[in-house]
Amino acid sequence: MNDETTALDASAPELLLDQHVKYIQALDTKKNDLEYWLTEHLRVNGLYWGATALHILGRPDALDQEQIVEYLVKCQHDNGGFGGHIDHDPHILSTLSAVQILITYDRLDAIQVDKVVDYIASLQNEDGSFSGDSWGETDTRFIFCAINCLSLLKRLEDKRLDLQKTIDYVVRCRNFDGGFGSSPGGESHAAQVYVCVGTLTILSALHHVDADQLGWWLSERQLKNGGLNGRPEKLEDVCYSWWVLSSLSMLKRTHWIDAPKLIRFILEAQDTETGGIADRPGNMPDVFHTVFGIAGLSLLGYPGLVAVDPVYCMPRHVIQRIGLADKH
């Protein structure tokens, strides 16, 4: 639990804990909304976002864990990968989300772990990158999904992997400003910085990052209103509270942004009627921004929240339980 006394702005709104819990619980019931169907392909990801948010809020039992485990099992394909929903094609993004949920619930026994490893190994390319699925799209996000997932499953030593090539590939994605892009030559973007720094952290290769230079670029994401953007000249967005902050945390420079101002920004983006958090104050909430807002608050030391791990975006006690916490 966070019991640090982070200086809070006394006029900032409160964290609407109970309302967020209700918001997340209600998500699966809105079957009459078009939005529900339009986001079907994100269902597994959505469950990870919801479950993680609830754990950080200290209400892990607010969703039916058994039901979720049963559902996830149905999403696993023969080749080991998980789709975004039942009968959706396997993809590395949903595979990671599924594994994260199962480990948080300590229910890895419900699925075929070896096959998951087979699936991920099959997605590594010659140049060390990973594709998102058999159709071949490559992106540093997928590298992180692969390394993150294999790390959680304790299968990074699999002989089919060439991790040095992966590190080399990530280093090729490093740019003139010290940041990282989606592929070699891709513009620096906070989400890509998170996945690249996360990958290098897990693979103990952080020496390839100039922490002072990248810390500088990341700290410049904070705007006058306290919110963080994802790259220069862009608008602030609550989800960057996670991507930027966790990167700064891995680089041991979280204090390079103004915490009370960011906390205030996140809290103002809450929806006081329905619960949930939006991308910025005044907009409609969604579960994606809810989890990253709450995770950001936890990293900032907001009182009463469960500590979150900056690399895995899962409760820190879960990462400790599986023995990965000392690595960083």
Partner: protein
């Protein structure tokens, strides 16, 4: 069906997959060229139509790539034009820029043999970024793309051509920063053009810290990882005999650190001189871009075993440029691990810009001075704008690398950089702590000049021949200790009234007796286990709230050097929340203002003493011991520090 679905839900990725399968196994199967072409063209139109509504959908751009990669004759020129239009609509759409780079890669692949075509293409892409930048100087995406192309263009150029193209870049940047000094893209591009001198690792020095068993310390100026253990040997009649032992870094992660300690295996002996050889590959810096330029050898005298005398006087023998310097006690050069002599290295080139080099420092100095004077103008024109100030500070730090650390020029630069950071703290409070950290680095460097000196291998540094015993860093506004290995030889350190939050730097203070950390921001003690000589630590007026946070500093006592020698440390905790919070056994009732000193004396037992106590208990039972030897628990009363037991 898939068309209708995808129109409504373009991110329904499974449907894109299904569509492609239907196309591959159905319509495209056994189709003739004309039909195939029609189908793909239709797909491209479908994507283009939907991209207009969803220009940021990964799945759309993927499908487009799939079409082009599957077609026999993709029209890449059309693609370039198409993406150009998208970048007109939104010049920062990274999907568009990524796609553009993808098209260029595909075209370059086809022209692998025709290098001039590839170069032409790079030039035209470069010109495209020029257009975009002139449309809007804040187009970060365009500056970024430009940075990926410049190197390619300059690859085969002559030195003069490179200088010309780089000068051109500086002109463009100046244009941008004078037009809008608040915009970060041009500034970051400028910094990238100027580049950073890759600093090599400096080995500060080496000395003996114990003779029985033999213990040697090697100090670096930054955190390094040991790839291969440094060779330690003793010379007996001109023959080098390796000594067995273990190298460990200080700190809880003993595989990483700036200070490394060698402890000889128990029972082993050594001769009158001990030699340590560190090859460049033995060490890998944690900081990107820095390495040990060549092998180093230290020779240590062991005949004089008066540590008081030795510590602070460091013998060293340096292998400069991989050539052995002849010294009275050495015979012959060092062989590399594979038996060969390290070959002479050509004098390294100095960086002028990130694309140009020179044999001397003059070019670099001239460039930096030119840019510094341009940036200074902007600082004067826009005194409330943080970018010119930050960049000026960075450029000055680069200039400092070209001069001796004890020169007047260095001092002037240091003073100005510190002022600049202080200005930044006032005009950009959101990032205050970053500037405070940078200021701490600069202040620390300035205040420790007496501890170091330029090494023969400029710009490396080493410990000064005469090491100070005391250092006063009180009231300097320090937020942390940047290079704790500098402080290795100190006996007393005064850090009163700073903003320090962690005590981890103390792991490298092997000789310190007294440390004053009063009036700081410490919440928890860490890393004290390697301070074997620590006697007195004052933490008055910090933020320590619980006893565990005090004990945490000593928890690994047994693993560090302290555990072997036994420790006796007096810690003052007046005016910390723990004084109020802790009750029960530790009656810390009154605040220090009322009663003066409220102290906690931590007494730790060495292993010997503990065993002696056990033996006593076993032999004579509880009654047999008139005084119990304490092992770290303590009692405190309001004014008197009491502990039951015999002082060790």
């Amino acid at each position: 069906v898939t068309t209708a679905l995808l129109r409504k839900s373009p991110d329904y990725y499974t449907i894109w997959n299904v569509r492609r399968i239907i196309l591959k196994e159905g319509f495209l199967n056994n189709a003739d060229d004309e039909t195939t072409n029609k189908i793909y063209t239709g797909e491209l139109e479908f994507v283009q139509e939907n991209l207009k509504l969803n220009p940021k959908s990964y799945w759309m751009w993927n499908h487009r790539r799939w079409c082009l990669e599957s077609m026999s004759q993709p029209r890449w020129d059309r693609e370039l034009a198409m993406v150009g239009k998208f970048l007109e609509m939104d010049a920062r759409n990274f999907h568009g820029w990524d796609y553009r780079r993808y098209i260029i890669r595909q075209l370059d692949l086809k022209d692998k043999e025709a290098k001039d075509k590839v170069l032409d293409r790079a030039q035209s892409e470069f010109d495209f970024t020029t257009t975009k930048i002139h449309q809007n100087f804040s187009n970060y995406s365009a500056w970024h793309n430009r940075s990926t192309l410049l190197g390619k263009l300059a690859e085969d150029m002559s030195h003069e051509e490179r200088e010309a193209i780089v000068d051109n870049e500086f002109d463009l940047v100046k244009n941008a920063i004078y037009t809008d000094p608040e915009d970060q893209s041009a500034w970051l591009y400028e910094l990238w053009l100027i580049g950073r001198e890759e600093r090599s690792i400096s080995i500060l020095g080496s000395s003996v810290i114990s003779f029985h068993p033999l213990e040697i310390v090697v100090a670096f100026d930054e955190t390094v990882e040991m790839r291969k253990p440094f060779t330690v040997s003793t010379r007996v009649e001109h023959v080098a005999i390796p000594l067995e032992g273990e190298w460990k870094a200080t700190g809880s992660d003993s595989t990483l650190g700036s200070v490394w300690i060698f402890q000889q295996a128990p029972g082993a002996v050594y001769g009158p001189t001990v030699e340590i050889v560190i090859f460049s590959d033995d060490v890998c810096a944690v900081r990107a871009g820095s390495k040990l330029p060549s092998a180093v050898c230290y020779e240590l005298e062991t005949l004089n075993q008066n540590l008081e005398d030795i510590s602070g006087r460091l013998e060293r023998l340096v292998v400069g440029q991989n050539l052995m310097y002849d010294v009275t006690k050495r015979i012959g050069p060092i062989s590399g691990p594979d038996g060969t002599l390290e070959t002479q290295v050509v004098h390294p080139k100095h960086r002028v810009t990130s694309l140009t080099e020179s044999d001397t420092l003059d070019g670099r100095v001239a460039l930096l001075e030119r840019e510094i004077s341009a940036v200074r103008e902007l600082v004067e024109l826009e005194p409330e704008c943080k970018w010119p100030i930050q960049i000026l500070s960075t450029l000055l730090s680069e200039l400092r690398k070209t001069v001796s650390i004890h020169s007047t020029h260095a001092k002037v630069i240091d003073d100005e950089c510190i002022e600049l950071q202080e200005k930044l703290i006032t005009i950009d409070p959101l990032r205050q702590e970053r500037y405070e950290d940078r200021r701490s680095q600069l202040v620390f460097d300035r205040e420790t000049l007496q501890i170091i000196q330029d090494s023969k291998r400029f710009p490396e540094i080493e410990y000064a021949t005469k090491q100070p015993r005391n250092l006063d860093l009180s009231m300097r506004g320090l937020t942390y200790i940047p290079i704790s290995s500098y402080l290795l030889h100190l006996h007393t350190l005064n850090l009163d009234s700073n903003s320090i939050t962690s005590t981890r730097f103390m792991r490298n203070l092997l000789n310190v007796r007294r440390v004053n950390l009063s009036n700081n921001l410490i919440e928890r003690l860490e890393g004290l286990q390697h301070a074997p000589s620590l006697e007195f630590l004052t933490l008055e007026n910090n933020m320590i709230a619980k006893w565990e946070d005090v004990a945490a500093g000593f928890v690994f006592w047994g693993e560090g050097k302290l555990g072997r020698t036994g420790g006796h440390v007096k810690v003052l905790l007046g005016n910390n929340p723990v004084v109020v919070n802790e009750g029960g056994e530790y009656v810390l009732e009154k605040r220090w203002e009322d009663v003066g000193e409220v102290g906690v004396e931590i007494q730790w037992q060495s292993e010997e003493l503990r065993l002696a106590e056990e033996a006593l208990l076993a032999a004579e039972g509880e009654g047999g011991i008139s005084s119990v030897l304490m092992d770290g628990s303590r009692r405190v009363s309001t004014t008197v520090v009491e502990f039951a037991g015999v002082a060790h």
